[in-house]
C-alpha cells in the first residue's frame, strides 16, 4: 500500500488539537478562529481594516471605550445594553442544551419564547400590579407557559410518536399566527404597529436608570441567567435527574434497562427546556423589547441551536459561545456606524462560525485518522530502526 508521509501541517494540527478530552474546547475554538479569519478577509475585501472592525465590535458592546459618547452615555451604557440582549440568548441556548442532552431537539424555543412573552404581557404586563409583585409574576408566568408548551412537544413525542422537530415547527407557526391575530385585534399600538408596551412595573429591564452618572438600562434578568448557567451545570453533571437525562439522551434502551423512566425523563427535559425558553421570552419581550412585533418569530431560538452546538451543549461552554456570538451580533451595529462595515458582515461571521462548528464531527474524525496514521508510521519507523 502506498502511503504519503504525514505532512508537517497535519502534525502541527494534531499537536494543537489532538487531545481528545480537550477537543470539546479546541474544536469550537478552531471554528471561531476560522470564522474570525474569514470575517477579516471579508473586511479587507471591503477595504476596511479588520482590526478596527473587531475593535469596533467590542466598543459597541461596551468592552472597549469608544472615542466619543452621546450626552449622559458611556461605555457602561453600552455594556448594560449588551447584557440586555445577551440574557435572552443565554436562556434560549440553555433551553436547547437541556433538550439536546436528553437526545431531543427543541427547535421550538422561539415559539415558546413568544407564547410565554405574550401571555405574560397580557396578564402581568398590562396589569396595574406593583413592581414587587409584577416582576416575579412575569418570570413565573413565562416559565410555566414555556414549560407547558415544551411539555406538549414531549407528550406528542412519547404518546403519539411524533418527531419533536416536526411538532415544534408546526407549533411555532401556530403560536406565531394566533398571537399575531390577538395582538393586531386587541393589543396593538396604532403608531408602532407592535403590541402595547408593557408596564414599567412588569418590565424586567429597568429603563433610563442613572448609574455612575450615566443613563443606562439595567437588565435584571441577566443575574438570573448567570445563576441559571451554574444551576444547569450542576443539574446536568451532579444531580440524579441530570444523570438520568443524559442516560436517556445517550441510549434510550440502556436507560430503560437501568430502570430510568424514559417517558418521564423526556417530559422533564422538554418541560425544563420550555421553562428556560419561557425565561428567554420573558427577558426578550418583557425585558429587552418591552413589546411584541406581530407576525415575526424571533431568530433567537434558532440561533440558540447553533450557539448550543458551538458551546458543546455544556452550560459553561454556552456561557462562552453566547457571549461571543452576542458580541458579534450586537457590536455589528456600531461597526457599521463607526467604520462603515455593513451590518450584514457580522451576521455572516456568525453564520460561518456556526457552519464551521457543525463540521466538528468531521474535524474530530479527521484528527483521529491523522493520529492513527502517525502512530502507524512511528511503529514502522521503530521496526525498521530495530532491523537496522
Amino acid at each position: 500500500m502506498k502511503r504519503n508521509k504525514t505532512s508537517p501541517l497535519s502534525r502541527a494540527f494534531l499537536a494543537v488539537m489532538g487531545n481528545e478530552k480537550r477537543q470539546a474546547v479546541t474544536i469550537p475554538l478552531f471554528a471561531v478562529f476560522l470564522s474570525l479569519i474569514a470575517g477579516a478577509v471579508l473586511m479587507l475585501l471591503l477595504g476596511k481594516n479588520p482590526i478596527d472592525g473587531y475593535i469596533s465590535l467590542l466598543q459597541g458592546c461596551g468592552m472597549l471605550p469608544k472615542e466619543k459618547y452621546a450626552g449622559g452615555k458611556g461605555m457602561f451604557t453600552d455594556l448594560m445594553g449588551y447584557l440586555d440582549i445577551w440574557t435572552p440568548m443565554l436562556f434560549a441556548s440553555l433551553a436547547v442544551a437541556v433538550a439536546y442532552k436528553a437526545g431531543l431537539f427543541n427547535i421550538g424555543v422561539s415559539g415558546q419564547m413568544l407564547l410565554g412573552g405574550f401571555l405574560a404581557s397580557i396578564t402581568v404586563g398590562y396589569s396595574p400590579l406593583p413592581a414587587v409583585v409584577a416582576k416575579p409574576l412575569t418570570i413565573v408566568v413565562c416559565m410555566i407557559v414555556g414549560a407547558l408548551a415544551g411539555a406538549l412537544i414531549g407528550v406528542l413525542k412519547y404518546k403519539f410518536n411524533i418527531n419533536e422537530v416536526v411538532s415544534a415547527i408546526m407549533l411555532n407557526y401556530i403560536f406565531q399566527y394566533v398571537i399575531s391575530f390577538f395582538i393586531l385585534t386587541y393589543f396593538v399600538n396604532p403608531v408602532t404597529r407592535q403590541s402595547e408596551t408593557v408596564s414599567a412595573a412588569a418590565r424586567l429591564t429597568l429603563q433610563d436608570v442613572q448609574l455612575f452618572g450615566m443613563k443606562t438600562v439595567v437588565p435584571l434578568g441577566f443575574v438570573l441567567a448567570l445563576i441559571a448557567v451554574f444551576v444547569m451545570h450542576f443539574f446536568i453533571n451532579r444531580t440524579r435527574q441530570g444523570f438520568e437525562l443524559k442516560a436517556v439522551g445517550a441510549s434510550r434502551s440502556a436507560a430503560e434497562y437501568a430502570g430510568v423512566s424514559t417517558k418521564r425523563t423526556i417530559l422533564m427535559a422538554m418541560s425544563l427546556s420550555g421553562a428556560l425558553a419561557g425565561l428567554a421570552g420573558a427577558t426578550y419581550y418583557l425585558g429587552y423589547l418591552g413589546s411584541i412585533q406581530p407576525k415575526v418569530l424571533t431568530t433567537t431560538g434558532f440561533d440558540a441551536i447553533a450557539v448550543c452546538l458551538l458551546g458543546n451543549a455544556n452550560p459553561l461552554g454556552i456561557l462562552a459561545s453566547s457571549f461571543l456570538i452576542t458580541i458579534i451580533t450586537k457590536g455589528g451595529t456600531y461597526m457599521n456606524s463607526s467604520i462603515g462595515v455593513p451590518q450584514e458582515v457580522s451576521s455572516l461571521i456568525t453564520g460561518l462560525m456556526l457552519l464551521f462548528a457543525a463540521c466538528g464531527v468531521y474535524i474530530r474524525a479527521r484528527l483521529k485518522r491523522v493520529k492513527d496514521r502517525l502512530e502507524q508510521e512511528e511503529k514502522e519507523a521503530k521496526k525498521e530502526g530495530g532491523k537496522a
Partner: protein, 319 residues
C-alpha cells in the same frame, strides 16, 4: 370563486415544487430542514441574474423570467452543496446542518444583496426589484363556470412547475435512479450491497432538492413578493416540510396537501373579505396548514411513515 382558484394555484404550486425538493432529499435518507435556505438562495441567484442582465432584454420580454427560473434552480443546487457536504461527507448532524444552512443563507444573501446593489448598481438597497410576472388568461376555457378559474390569470411559471414536477415524479418512481434513491432512504446498506454508490445518490438528491427549492423560491419572488429581499425567508420552506409530511413523503399526496394549504389560504382571505372582517383574521387562516398537519400526525401517526433510514448517518464501514 375564481379568485380562490387563481390565488390558490399561484401559491400551491411553488410550495409544491419546494416540497418535492424536500421529498427528494428525505427519500434518499437526508433530513432536510434547509429548504428555507435553499429557496432563498435560489431566488437570490435568479434575482441577481435578472438585475444584472436587465439592460440586455427588452422591457416587455418574458425571456428573463424563464432564464431566471433556470438560474434559480442552478443557484439553489449550488447552495445545497453546503448541506450535502455537511451531511454526507462530513457526517454532521442533519438537523443541525439544516438550521445552520438556513441561518447562513439569510446572512449570506443579505450581505451579497446589499453589496451587489452598491457595487454593481451604485445604489444602496437591500432588495432587487423584480416585476410581478405577467399573467395569462385562456379564452374560452376561462369562461367555464368555476373550473374557468384554472385558466384565468395564470402565472406562466405555473406551467414550468407542472412540467418540472412531472419530470421529478417520473424520475423518482419510474427510473433506475429514482428506485435506487428511494432505496437509500430505507436501507442504504442494501443499495451499497447492490453495487451502487450511496453517497453519490444522496448528494445528487440534495442538489435536486436545492434546485427545486430554488425554482419555488424564484416563483414566490415573482408572485407573492414582486421583489427579492430577505423577506423571502418567511417560512415557506417550513410550510413545504409540513406539506411533505402531510403528504407522507409521496409526490401525489404532497400535491394534494399543497393544494389544500393553498386553497384554504386563498379561501380564507376571500372569506375574511366577504364577511367584512378585519384583515387580522387572516392570521387565523394562516395556522390552518400547520394545525391540520399536527392533527393529522396525532390521529394518523401510525399511517404516517417517514423514510426508515431518514437522518441516519450512513457509514459504509459499518455493516
Amino acid at each position: 370563486m375564481t379568485d380562490i382558484i387563481v390565488n390558490g394555484m399561484a401559491f400551491s404550486l411553488p410550495l409544491f415544487i419546494i416540497a418535492v425538493g424536500g421529498i427528494y432529499s428525505e427519500r434518499s435518507g437526508v433530513t432536510n430542514l434547509a429548504l428555507e435556505g435553499f429557496l432563498g438562495a435560489g431566488a437570490f441567484f435568479g434575482a441577481v441574474f435578472v438585475t444584472l442582465t436587465s439592460g440586455l432584454f427588452a422591457a416587455t420580454s418574458q425571456l428573463p423570467m424563464y432564464l431566471a427560473l433556470i438560474v434559480a434552480m442552478l443557484g439553489g443546487a449550488l447552495y445545497a452543496v453546503i448541506h450535502a457536504v455537511l451531511c454526507i461527507k462530513f457526517k454532521a448532524n442533519q438537523v443541525i446542518s439544516g438550521v445552520v444552512v438556513n441561518i447562513l443563507a439569510m446572512a449570506l444573501t443579505d450581505f451579497l444583496t446589499s453589496q451587489i446593489n452598491s457595487v454593481a448598481l451604485g445604489q444602496s438597497s437591500d432588495k432587487f426589484v423584480l416585476t410581478v410576472s405577467g399573467r395569462l388568461t385562456f379564452e374560452p376555457l376561462a369562461s367555464i363556470p368555476v373550473l374557468g378559474g384554472f385558466f384565468t390569470n395564470v402565472y406562466p411559471f405555473e406551467f414550468v412547475i407542472i412540467a418540472v414536477a412531472v419530470v421529478a415524479w417520473y424520475a423518482m418512481y419510474k427510473t433506475r435512479f429514482g428506485m435506487r434513491l428511494r432505496a437509500c432512504g430505507d436501507n442504504p446498506y442494501a443499495v451499497d450491497a447492490a453495487g451502487c454508490n450511496v453517497a453519490r445518490l444522496q448528494f445528487t438528491a440534495v442538489l435536486i432538492s436545492g434546485a427545486l427549492s430554488g425554482l419555488g423560491g424564484m416563483c414566490f419572488a415573482y408572485s407573492v413578493f414582486g421583489n427579492y429581499s430577505t423577506s423571502i425567508y418567511t417560512g415557506y420552506g417550513y410550510l413545504a416540510i409540513a406539506a411533505m409530511i402531510f403528504g407522507n413523503w409521496k409526490i401525489p399526496q404532497t400535491l394534494g396537501a399543497c393544494l389544500l394549504f393553498g386553497f384554504a389560504r386563498s379561501a380564507g382571505y376571500v372569506l375574511v373579505q366577504k364577511l367584512g372582517m378585519p384583515s387580522t383574521y387572516s392570521d387565523l387562516i394562516m395556522i390552518l396548514p400547520y394545525a391540520l398537519t399536527l392533527l393529522l400526525l396525532v390521529f394518523f401517526s401510525k399511517n404516517n411513515r417517514a423514510p426508515r433510514a431518514l437522518g441516519e448517518i450512513y457509514d459504509k464501514g459499518k455493516r
